[in-house]
Amino acid sequence: MDAIQQSLLEQVADLHEVPAGAYNIRANGQMAGRNTTANIDIITKEDKSGIDIRIRPDTKHESVHIPVVLSQSGLKESVYNDFFVGENADVTIIAGCGIHNGGAASSEHSGIHRFFVDRNAKVRYVEKHYGAGDGSGERIMNPTTEIHLAQGAFLEMETVQIKGIDSTRRVTSAEVEEGASLIIREKIMTHGKQYAETDFTVEMNGDDSSVNLISRSVAKDRSEQLFKSRIIGNGKCHGHSECDAIIMDQASVSAVPELTANNIEANLIHEAAIGKIAGEQLMKLMTLGLTEKEAEEQIVNGFLK
């Protein structure tokens, strides 16, 4: 692996060396490393590009890293990764994609991740997207995430895209069964002429199921963002989504929430707030000796932390 790929890997997976536990590293469309453990198996798909990650029931405190790096300009790929998490397992999955595009052709990665989380299993899923390189070619990422939570299962997803992705359409859908709960935290910052679209659809099918979608974003320069969320309550459930955006310069942000209750016991809430940095926040930090620009950076960094 070369220095560019190594640096991408550090950005998306905080990996400085070979990770502990199971991992699969994909670089420019090829497998660049793999490790399996007694409880976590990784199998290459035969019908299409991608892997199956099988986690045995009762696996506790293990982790799986599946970073992807692209440094070859003009590469376009779609990768299908399926995660099967056994009953009562408790694991951390770290995915991430870094694109370095130094050429003129656009590079594109579409990761299609499906999670089948069995009864009472717990998953923490972390996903980071990062782009670099000074070529004129666009860096495009379109992650699709499909989540199936069986009875009593729990999945917490953290998704971060802070820098360098020109265009992204992130589609996440989930089915949440009885007593299961889903938490999604999204952080996005766009600048230049970037475009980011988020599209969540969550169906809560069982009683005592819950979902919490929390999106924080900052749109700078002439970038555009669209946040769509659909929460459907089919049972006695609790759904909450919140979209909190800071808008700067000539950027544009739209939030389109949709709530559907098909059961009298469904309790659904959406909150959305879009606005510029409050003048009083800037002023407060300026009275501490920061310049307006430094104050702005502190406010944005804190907001996206």
Binding site: R216, D244, A278, E280, Q281, M283, K284, L285, M286, T287, L288, G289, L290, T291, E292, Q298, I299, N301, G302, F303, L304, K305
Partner: protein, 240 residues
């Protein structure tokens, strides 16, 4: 030393000019100076003009002989002016430790943060990593605001109604904070307040009324005037 010369400030309201401050002339070099006066008399406006948040429509501000009238908030802050807001600001995602570090102008250690917070009656253990967001009460924010000013150790510190909302923490502690600040900075502390116990410790009291300085002097000299300020109309006096 801070000098205000002929400071005027007016604001526009529905195309009508409203005069908020009119020809304010002041020299502040004492230890504790209190500014008092009825609501709407221009006290907060005066503080904001000193900090650079508002720009006066006329007049001049000198700080240690340097004209700062056209300097930015940041420049004034770096020269040694601090300002504790009447209503402290919340920041999503910024922690108490980060905010106090910004105030101190360095990455403060846990021990230093503990020192700062204990001065305002807060235990660092409970607050250091808390976000300065809506989860903090008004009183907690107010104390953190005061701790920030203490951390800055500047020549001039302005407090806009510091007593509001800190009912459970005694006044005596607040006064002790001001005394300690003065010991450390040897500077001037300007306090906007209605509280008699704060006025009691002031070396000098400035009474503002209708945007003008009505009286400057000791507590004994100013208090009788304060009671006679801003005569209400009959409808109100009949009810009092």
């Amino acid at each position: 030393m801070l000098e205000l010369k002929g400071i005027c400030f007016s604001a526009e309201d529905e195309n009508r000019e409203i005069e908020i401050l009119n020809d304010i002339n002041l020299t502040i070099e004492d230890r504790f100076v209190a500014v008092t006066g009825p609501n709407g008399s221009g006290k907060s406006t005066l503080a904001k003009i000193i900090a650079g948040i508002l720009i006066p429509t006329a007049g001049q501000i000198l700080f240690d002989g340097v004209d700062i009238t056209n300097l930015s908030i940041t420049e004034r802050a770096n020269m040694g002016i601090s300002f504790a807001f009447q209503q402290p600001v919340r920041f999503k995602g910024i922690t108490v430790k980060e905010l106090l570090s910004m105030a101190a102008g360095k990455d403060a250690t846990i021990t230093e943060i503990c020192e700062m917070l204990s001065e305002v009656g807060l235990c660092a253990r409970d607050y250091v990593n808390r976000e300065v967001n809506a989860s903090l009460s008004g009183g907690e924010l107010k104390r953190i605001e005061i701790a920030m000013i203490m951390a800055r150790k500047t020549k001039v510190s302005i407090f806009d109604e510091p007593e509001a909302g800190i009912d459970l923490w005694s006044f005596q502690n607040l006064i002790r904070v001001f005394e300690k600040m003065h010991e450390e900075t040897k500077g001037s502390i300007l306090i906007i307040s209605h509280q008699e116990r704060i006025l009691n410790i002031a070396d000098r009291i400035i009474l503002l009324s209708d945007g003008q300085i009505k009286k400057v002097g000791s507590k004994e000299e100013v208090m009788p005037e304060l009671l006679g300020c801003g005569q209400p109309c009959r409808t109100l006096t009949d009810k009092l």
